[in-house]
Symmetry: none
Subunit: 215 residues, 2 copies
DNA sequence: TTAATTTTAGGGGGAAACCCTGGTTTTTCT
DNA sequence: AGAAAAACCAGGGTTTCCCCCTAAAATTAA
């Protein structure tokens, strides 16, 4: 029997979920909570397998609840339920221990499937959520590509020097490693400063990391 | 008619794909390529809607091909095909312009569905790949939390100094900005060097960027 | 084969960073 | 309230960085 705790501040919504789960074999509604604090309290004294957790609770955010649950009761699986299909919400929630993320417009069958899937140890995300995440993952390309375009060409040797600078080696150490003179390394760094429009080595490192110049 | 270019260095695999696509209505195999360079060449002089791209090509990586295609022929959609269901591969590929990612063990029907989906402008990922990405997205919690844990506490003031160092300001400039003495700033940097186990400002910047200390 | 770029190298000088030690005041935690 | 941590300040000494300049050899592109 899967013990489910429903956590949402909208009574009507909780009622709806409960009525779905009540008639379902193998699933039992262990309790209902209307805020984050009571979720933490409830799991302390009750056996709960899955928390159906609204991401937007009045007192604390669902993310905070996830974090605390993951710390104190890692065996309790969190299935996040949210009205918002936004990348920041989704990834934040997942990054704090939720095993699944479904939207509030999810139908009865999908809700049951999600609960059973998460209970089995796997993860579940509704189709829309999956798309959102993929989109977010892909859109990071634009920013990185754009900045790569207007980035001056860095020669092979300069890149080597740049890498070693980022690894905290001094000019002398870099010279020894590359079997070249200290003055040569200084030339390279000087050229790098000009090319990357940096004022010092700290900037060199920041710019090269931000633009993935060391890959 | 969807013009498809198959790019893979394994002849047998290309043959297999081709035989599937040949009997399919609305899909035409525009050409076959066995390395990345010829893909770039081919799209220059042929109409291609979709490139079925093996991520592991002999001469250049599929990621490189994606990048170049996105730059020169953004209308050509890349559907990545790979033997490896690994997070780094998948996200790298998607971040460089691929519209989909399927595995080589994908069946005939799913392949066709993927092609048609990508052609329609949407994205397609096989179920396994989706799971991998989700796992990867979730597992960043562990690494980030872990690194934050064994990362010494950085005071509010130190963080301010650290930010300004990363923004390439000199000690004197930082002192002026924060209305404190030059020597104080040096103290803070010195403490930061010790705390973050860095040898110089370059390392300070690298470590703080790698561990998201400036957020 | 020129032309351009890259890589190499050097002198000299000033600024900044780094290291060490010491101290006071303020904030934070218990 | 007392202890601990953080923030503040400072001097002197050493190293490293950064900048200006020049310039030859090697590689690459036109």
């Amino acid at each position: 029997m899967i013990q489910v705790l429903i956590a949402d501040d909208h009574t009507m919504f909780v009622d709806g979920i409960e009525s779905i789960l009540l008639v379902e074999d193998g699933i039992h509604v262990a309790g209902r909570c209307y805020d984050g604090a009571s979720v933490i309290e409830f799991v302390k004294s009750n056996k709960v397998d899955i928390v159906l957790l609204d991401v937007n609770l009045p007192d604390m955010s669902g993310i905070e609840v996830c974090k605390q649950l993951a710390a104190s009761h890692p065996e309790v699986k969190v299935l996040a339920i949210s009205m918002y299909n936004e990348e920041s919400y989704v990834s934040e929630t997942l990054n704090h221990g939720a095993r699944g993320y479904i939207l509030k417009n999810t139908g009865r069958d999908e809700l049951l499937k999600a609960i059973r899937t998460v209970y089995s140890g796997a993860t579940y995300f509704s189709k829309d959520v999956t798309e959102t995440i993929m989109k977010g993952l892909m859109n990071r390309r634009k920013s990185s590509t754009k900045s790569t375009v207007d980035m001056p060409k860095i020669s092979r040797r300069e890149k080597e020097v740049l890498k070693l600078i980022a690894e905290e080696f001094t000019t002398q150490e870099i010279a020894d490693k590359l079997f070249i003179s200290l003055k040569t390394v200084e030339s390279h760094r000087s050229n790098l400063l000009a090319k990357l429009n940096a004022r010092n080595s700290a900037g060199l490192v920041r710019i090269s990391l931000e633009n993935h110049l060391l890959d």
